[in-house]
Symmetry: C2
Subunit: 276 residues, 2 copies
């Protein structure tokens, strides 16, 4: 297991953690804090302009651990599915343009008025299969992210690491896994499934599960403030050979999003070195 | 699969669904509505007096599909664990006194300041093992209820049907499973796990998953108002041989708890006959 106690190299700041910042502010803020990697969401990349974003990131010598996010495959009809696929191809191009090491995808949930989660899961499989040729040609690995089961209906119907590995087995080269502790920490099968996922884990995200959790979506905690055994999970992930970034991604409407982003960065770095 | 379209026999009203009612009111309300089974929580049984509660239920000829609930096994220290075990033995006695067909147990979450979910799960195993002799002697089947993973930290660290079946395998006669669609509907392995659980499913609870879900705990939906494929799951459960009650249990602070309980009962019956 890597010693991160003096590390600044393997911390990546996800733009969702400092939601108030533009890409320009994120790049400058990380440079000021001596942080060398970012994980932007598409909104701030598009707002900056994709080409300009790439230039800015390269000029600062920042690594891009991943681009967040594409996916959301299930749709109610064929035009809907085509629109999703087109948008995902653009996301692949954006990831390539900014040098992201992968494109994170979340599955998407049930189409409107549907109760057919099995059918939605088939659509995810088929959408990934349709997207993969473009991603392979662009040299952008796709990273399917299993989301917590509480998002199964409206955000992502891939809810376990086992399911994500199954998709990788079925779809082959070019598809990997984004593992976020928030979504999988509860899984009684986690040790076995991390070992099984192995080198398919291509990006690793951290935050914490707060008790109580006051909001289904926007009440994630800073690493160390919740109940997740972060060291235990990182040990298992690194035992697979993972040696990439730890991406701090925190959705927190009532707490961290209200703070000064530079302070948030400082605390992310401190927690990265002490509890991640 | 049973035809419930004219059924009044296999609907059980969980007291959490009509939270404003005492046991006396629940018994009278069900009698008025022609509903012949209830699933009370311990609070209203204790408030009525356990012996009196049993007499009242027997006088009305009501079936008691289950008593909710015991469990909550993990504790920070040995005195804490002893207190939990004592309370669970009382719950078994209460279930016997009111003729409940089983006692529902939820696992409990992490002890205060703990991040050791594996340790908490071991405590659940050990707590069940310690409780079982008393339950067997009293003739009260225990029903461990896997809760949705979003409750892993603070309510129940048994979060999958697979885990519940594992516990049954390990602990033997006297332990079964309470299956609530709300907690397991998202599981990609659900068909296989229901078949595996088989006759260990001894009580079956229904409600629905709303989109959006506005509260982690208290925003469950009336059957039919959400995205769960209720018929599909009941078909699988009945294929195991299950022929007991469908217990409607809805926690709903902002909607159903604000309505007139008699109206809620009427709608439960209607949904039981049309969508469950």
């Amino acid at each position: 297991m890597r010693d991160l106690s003096n590390d600044r190299q393997w911390l990546a700041i996800n733009s969702a953690t400092v939601k108030a910042w533009s890409l320009e502010q994120l790049v400058e803020g990380c440079a000021r804090a001596g942080i060398s990697a970012i994980a932007p969401w598409r909104d701030i990349v598009q707002a900056a302009g994709v080409e300009k974003a790439g230039n800015l990131i390269r000029a600062q010598g920042l690594a891009v651990s991943c681009l967040c996010r594409g996916g959301m495959f299930p749709a109610a009809d064929e035009p809907g599915r085509r629109a999703v696929l087109d948008d995902n191809r653009r996301a692949v191009d954006e990831a390539a343009a900014i040098g992201a090491r992968c494109l994170v995808l979340i599955a998407g949930g049930l189409p409107k008025d549907s109760k057919d989660i099995t059918g939605a899961r088939q659509q995810v499989h088929d959408g990934l299969a349709a997207l993969l040729p473009h991603a392979r040609a662009a040299g952008v690995p796709l990273a399917i992210e299993p989301l917590h089961p509480m998002y199964a209906a409206d955000r992502a119907c891939v809810n376990t690491l086992a399911h994500a590995s199954d998709l990788c087995d079925q779809l082959g080269a070019g598809l990997g896994i984004a593992l976020d502790v928030y979504h999988v920490w509860w899984d009684p099968d986690l040790p076995r499934q991390i070992a099984r996922a192995g080198s398919r884990i291509i990006t690793y995200h951290v935050c914490d599960w707060l008790v109580p959790t006051r909001d289904v979506l926007l009440d994630r905690g800073m690493p160390g403030d919740g109940v997740i055994d972060l060291r235990g999970i990182r040990r298992m992930v690194e035992a697979t050979g993972y040696a990439g970034h730890c991406d701090v991604e925190i959705f927190s409407a009532q707490d961290w999003w209200k703070r000064e982003p530079s302070d948030v960065l400082r605390i992310c770095l401190e927690r990265h070195q002490t509890v991640v």
